[in-house]
C-alpha cells in the first residue's frame, strides 16, 4: 500500500481516545506524515470540538468514560452536519465478529489496538473510503 504524502497532508483528523499514550502515538504518526490532528479524551469533548472543525475522518475508540464510541457515532449520524464524516473504530477487543458488529453499527472501518506506528498509516488507508485517498 503506497501512501500519497500529498493526500495525507490534506487530512484533518479527530482522534477520540481516552488513553493518553494511544492518542499520542496516533498523533505522532499522523502529524509525522503531514496530517493535522485534533485530540479528544472522550465522546462529549469530541462532539464539542466538532462545532469548530470539520475533520476529514474521525478515529473513534469504543470504550470510553462519559460518552463512549457507540453513543458518539449515534450522535454523529443523527446530525446532518456530521453524518457524512467517515468514522473508523479503534478497539482493543480483537475478537471474531467484532468487525461485523462495528460495521453493522455504522462505522466505516475498524482498526484493532494496539496499532503499530510502522504499519498504522497503511492499515488506516485500507479502511478509509476511496474518496479520501485521492
Amino acid at each position: 500500500m503506497t501512501i500519497n504524502k500529498a493526500v495525507v497532508s490534506n487530512w484533518e483528523v479527530l482522534v477520540v481516545e481516552d488513553e493518553k499514550d494511544n492518542r499520542e502515538i496516533a498523533f505522532r504518526v499522523l502529524t509525522f506524515h503531514g496530517a493535522k490532528v485534533h485530540e479528544a479524551e472522550h465522546g462529549a469533548v469530541g462532539m464539542a470540538l466538532l462545532d469548530d472543525i470539520n475533520p476529514t475522518f474521525i478515529l473513534l475508540d469504543l470504550s470510553m468514560p462519559v460518552m463512549d464510541g457507540w453513543e458518539m457515532l449515534k450522535q454523529l449520524k443523527a446530525n446532518p452536519k456530521t453524518a457524512a464524516i467517515p468514522v473508523i473504530a479503534l478497539t482493543a477487543h480483537a475478537l471474531v465478529g467484532d468487525r461485523e458488529r462495528v460495521i453493522e453499527a455504522g462505522f466505516d472501518g475498524y482498526i484493532s489496538k494496539p496499532f503499530s506506528p510502522i504499519t498504522f498509516l497503511a492499515d488506516l488507508t485500507k479502511e478509509l473510503p476511496e474518496a479520501i485517498k485521492v
Partner: protein
C-alpha cells in the same frame, strides 16, 4: 423427595389385621444375620415350650398324672424364652422380673399343697404379663378367657387331669399365637426400619443433591470470576506494554526526530524485550484460557493449502537467514476445503515451525501434510536441529519446562509453546507425537480429524 415418600404412603394398601396377615402372608425373610439368630432362638425356645405342653396333654389323655418335672422343664424353657425376648428388645426388663416372680410363686404353692394344680395359675401369670407387655389389646382378651378357667381350677382344690389339659390346650393356642405375633411383629419392625432407612436415604440424597448444586454454583461463579480476571488482566498487562512498544517504534521509525546510533541500539533493545514480554504475556494468557477450557473450537470450512502457503511465506525469511533447506510437501490429494478450526491449527503449525527454525542451525526444516485415513490428516514438522535428550521427551509438553532451564541457556522462550500446542491439539481431538535424537533433529507429528465438506457445501464456499 418428600413427595416420593408421601406417595409411597398413599399407595400402600390398607393394612389387614394381624390374624389375616398371619394366615395369608408369608413369614418374613430376615436378611440381617444377627436378627436372624434372634428370631431363630425365639422360635426354637417357643417350639420347645409347645412340645412340652403337648407332652403334658398327651400324658393327660393317657390318664397319667402331671409330673412336676415336666412342667418345670417347660417353665425353664419359658424363662429362657422370656430372657431371649428381652434381649431381642421385645419386652422390657421390668416385665421379665415380674414374669420370673409370677412363675416361681405357683411352685412354692405347689410345694405347700401338692394336690393343688398350680400349673394353670403359673401359665396364667406368665401369659398375663407377657401379653400385656407385648400386645395391648388381644393379649388381654386371650388371657381374660384363660383366667376364668384357671381360677375355677384353682378354687376347685382337687387335682383334675382334664382341667389341667384344657389349660394346656389353651396355653398351646396362646403359644402358637405368640409365636406368630413375634414373627409378624418382627416383620413390622423390619419393614419400619426399612421405611426409615429409605426415608433417611431419600433425605440424604436430597441433601447431597442440594450440596452438589451449591458446589456447582460456586464452581460456576469461580470460573466466571476467573474468566473476568483473565480478561481484565490481559487488558491491563498489555496496555502499558503496547504503549512502550508503540513509542519505541515511533523512535525507531524516526517519527520523533533523529536519534544517534547508541540511542537507536538501546531503543531496539527496549523494543525487542517489550515484544518478548508481550509474547510471554500472550502465551501465559493463552495457556490459562486453554486450561480453564475457555477455548472454543470453531469448525469452519477453510483451505489448509492456503494457510500453509501463508505460513511458509512468513517463515521463508528464517530459512534464508540461517541458510537452511526448507522443504514443504503436501499430499496432492489434499482437498481444497476441509472443516476445522483454522486459527488454532495455524497456531499449532506456526509454533512447531518457529521451534524448528529456532533450534536448527544447519541442515533442513521440513513440513509435510499427508492423509492418515479417511478423515484424519497428519502434519509433520521435522528438523535437523539440536534435538531433545531422551529424559526431556517425557516433559516436553509440560508448561514452563524447557530442556535447558539454566540461566545461561542458549535458546530463549517462555517454555509454553509446546504446552499450548499440546492443549490445542487435544482440544481439537487430535494427537501429537514427538521423536528425537540428540544432535540429529526432531520430528513432531500432529494428527487431526478434518472433515471433508460435501459437494454442495464445497460449492457454497467457492461461490
Amino acid at each position: 423427595m418428600k413427595e416420593a415418600i408421601s406417595d409411597q404412603h398413599q399407595s400402600k394398601p390398607e393394612k389387614p389385621g394381624w390374624f389375616a396377615r398371619w394366615l395369608l402372608e408369608p413369614l418374613p425373610r430376615v436378611t440381617d444375620p444377627g436378627q436372624r439368630r434372634k428370631v431363630r432362638l425365639l422360635a426354637s425356645f417357643h417350639l420347645t415350650n409347645i412340645a412340652l405342653l403337648m407332652l403334658n396333654i398327651l400324658r393327660g389323655l393317657r390318664g397319667e398324672s402331671h409330673t412336676p418335672i415336666y412342667s418345670l422343664l417347660g417353665q425353664v424353657a419359658a424363662i429362657i424364652f422370656v430372657y431371649v425376648m428381652a434381649r431381642a428388645g421385645y419386652i422390657k426388663t421390668s416385665s421379665v422380673i415380674t414374669v420370673l416372680f409370677s412363675m416361681v410363686m405357683p411352685y412354692t404353692m405347689l410345694l405347700e399343697n401338692p394336690n393343688r394344680p398350680a400349673e394353670p395359675f403359673a401359665w396364667l401369670a406368665l401369659s398375663l404379663v407377657l401379653t400385656s407387655a407385648l400386645f395391648p389389646w388381644y393379649g388381654t382378651v386371650i388371657v381374660g378367657a384363660l383366667a376364668a378357667g384357671s381360677i375355677i381350677a384353682y378354687l376347685n382344690l382337687t387335682p383334675s387331669v382334664m382341667f389341667g389339659d384344657v389349660a394346656n390346650v389353651l396355653m398351646l393356642i396362646i403359644n402358637l399365637t405368640i409365636l406368630t405375633i413375634i414373627f409378624t411383629n418382627h416383620r413390622d419392625r423390619l419393614e419400619a426400619a426399612r421405611q426409615l432407612e429409605l426415608r433417611e436415604v431419600n433425605s440424604q440424597l436430597k441433601k447431597q443433591a442440594e450440596q452438589l448444586n451449591i458446589a456447582l454454583e460456586k464452581a460456576k461463579e469461580a470460573n466466571r470470576l476467573k474468566s473476568d480476571f483473565l480478561a481484565t488482566m490481559s487488558h491491563e498487562l498489555r496496555t502499558p506494554l503496547n504503549a512502550i512498544i508503540g513509542f519505541t517504534e515511533i523512535m525507531l521509525a524516526g517519527m520523533g526526530g533523529q536519534i544517534d546510533e547508541d540511542a537507536t541500539h538501546m531503543t531496539e533493545r527496549i523494543h525487542a524485550n517489550s515484544k518478548r514480554q508481550l509474547t510471554l504475556i500472550n502465551d501465559v494468557l493463552d495457556l490459562a484460557k486453554i486450561e480453564s477450557r475457555r477455548v472454543d473450537i470453531v469448525k469452519k470450512p477453510f483451505s489448509l493449502q492456503a494457510m500453509i502457503n501463508g505460513l511458509v511465506s512468513e517463515t521463508e525469511v528464517l530459512a534464508k537467514q540461517k541458510n537452511l533447506d526448507y522443504q514443504v510437501k503436501i499430499d496432492p490429494n489434499l482437498p481444497d476445503v476441509l472443516i476445522g478450526d483454522q486459527g488454532h491449527i495455524e497456531q499449532v503449525i506456526s509454533n512447531l515451525l518457529s521451534n524448528a527454525f529456532k533450534f536448527t542451525e544447519r541442515g533442513h526444516v521440513r513440513l509435510m501434510v499427508s492423509r492418515l485415513d479417511e478423515d484424519r490428516w497428519t502434519i509433520n514438522v521435522s528438523d535437523s536441529g539440536v534435538g531433545i535428550p531422551p529424559h526431556a521427551l517425557e516433559y516436553i509438553f509440560d508448561p514452563f519446562r524447557q530442556v535447558d532451564s539454566s540461566p545461561e541457556r542458549v535458546f530463549q522462550g517462555t517454555g509454553l509453546g509446546l504446552a499450548i500446542v499440546d492443549e490445542l491439539v487435544r482440544a481439537m481431538d487430535g494427537t501429537i507425537k514427538v521423536e528425537s535424537a540428540l544432535g540429529r533433529g526432531s520430528i513432531f507429528v500432529v494428527s487431526l480429524p478434518l472433515d471433508r465438506v460435501t459437494q454442495a457445501e464445497d460449492r457454497k464456499v467457492q461461490a
